[in-house]
Symmetry: C2
């Protein structure tokens, strides 16, 4: 029974924090949390009843499952050190854009457990509708990862490294860039002393809409109407925020170009 | 009692359609719908039990309230014709970016009724949480507009033309540009034969998050982590979609720039 698995987390960032807490709530045993940052390691370890360390050489050996969830650059740099004496353990990472193969030179038991979601430490995420994309180097470990993920979510998919990379790219637009549009909106409002809360009803509806209507068909606003008067006025209002003005220009022309494609 | 008001809609686009239907459901009398496009005029008129016309000179005279909801360019061009013989009627428009003053040369009874939302004809919007921003040229008409809007929504605010223009600009980012990010995400997924539906859980959480956390603090993804490896790989994947690649570049650097500001 996989609740007897002993799990170690390498990383204590947003994703690791949410995933570890969810596993802990589902009665998985997390033995240890590693993070270079002591505060992060300690905070997460305390939350999930684990030990913590800030030294890779002190990561416990002979555990069942190591879940690596580090910033991609740090991950690739640290792989050789992380993988020392892990040749018989199942080692997975959680990154959308890193192929499983980076782990292969070190172990035959490797895989990926990619929950496609935006995580913040300050906000607990409900896992049950998060899609998990799973890959493993052998059938047995794949089944194990599927059965673990199935306890957290009802949306489990298999995806190889190439598919995962494409999903991640699309997710950057759907989530990270959409959120940045909220940030720029908030910045404009703040400049004028208006509250960001006034946008929430609009933001909610924009999101609800794409559950029913393809996004390019849901597009509204001055750009899709090619309403030059409004766009020129908006560009003029942004003249002392040139970086935001450049984004307004590029996105408006992109909206118009994509209209003619469809 | 304002349910005895006789209303005429000048325009039958997305906003006009949703607003007219909502007024109709709340037992307001809509006498006529004008649109240059016969299909649009007819469709909306039938839905709200009104007559329709495609000729401005046939718009009924001596009604109580004229609601102008046209594309901004068309509106400004047609104002003189629309306003003929309306010098004693209350005439309002619904546009975020057009000042109330454009109506003043023609009538002393003018105003604005701006529901800040993204409207599609194919999707009925619940009005009760939509913020309405209201302006009028005299107190009596302002009270009338407030009392009408209060039947549709619980969020009624007064805003002058300058404030409304700022809200509209911020709304373009929060809604129109965010939706375009969904479109680009869908386009990338389509190219790879993956379904847009896989993004919905992520999109929902991104939206829920900004109800609790300021958007710039909710930002996640490779740009805010300055994860050059991932960003370069993504740019490389977009090399045969140069317009989307340019957007990826500009938004990633904007995310990073705004990080250092905060």
């Amino acid at each position: 029974m996989h609740h007897n698995l002993h799990i170690v987390f390498i990383g204590a960032g947003n994703l690791a924090t949410n995933l570890a807490k969810s596993l802990h709530q589902h009665h998985f045993k997390i033995d240890q949390v590693y993070s270079r940052t002591e505060d992060s390691a300690k905070l997460l370890a305390n939350a999930v009843g684990a030990e913590y360390t800030t030294h890779l050489e002190d990561v416990l050996l002979h555990k069942d499952l190591y879940i690596i969830s580090l910033r991609d650059g740090a991950f690739l740099e640290l792989i050789p050190q992380i993988m020392e004496q892990k040749s018989d353990a199942l080692v997975v990472h959680t990154a959308g854009s890193i192929p499983m193969d980076v782990l292969k030179p070190y172990t035959q038991r490797c895989g990926v457990l990619y929950p496609m979601q935006t995580f913040s430490k300050s906000r607990a995420v409900e896992f049950d509708t998060i899609p998990f994309f799973i890959e493993a180097n052998n059938e047995e470990d794949k089944d194990l990862l599927i059965s673990i993920a199935s306890e957290l979510s009802s949306k489990i998919f298999e995806a190889d490294s190439a598919q995962r990379k494409k999903l991640h790219l699309a997710a950057v637009f759907a989530s990270n860039f959409a959120n940045h549009m909220y940030s720029l909106s908030a910045e404009i409002l703040q400049k004028y002393g208006l509250p960001f809360e006034s946008m929430l009803s609009l933001i909610d509806e924009t999101t609800r809409k794409v559950h029913q209507v393809q996004p390019h068909k849901a597009q509204t606003g001055p750009a899709i109407r090619n309403d030059q008067d409004v766009m020129n006025e908006h560009l003029n209002m942004l003249k002392d925020m040139p970086d935001i003005q450049a984004i307004y220009k590029l996105l408006s022309s992109s909206i118009l170009n994509h209209k003619s494609d469809k």
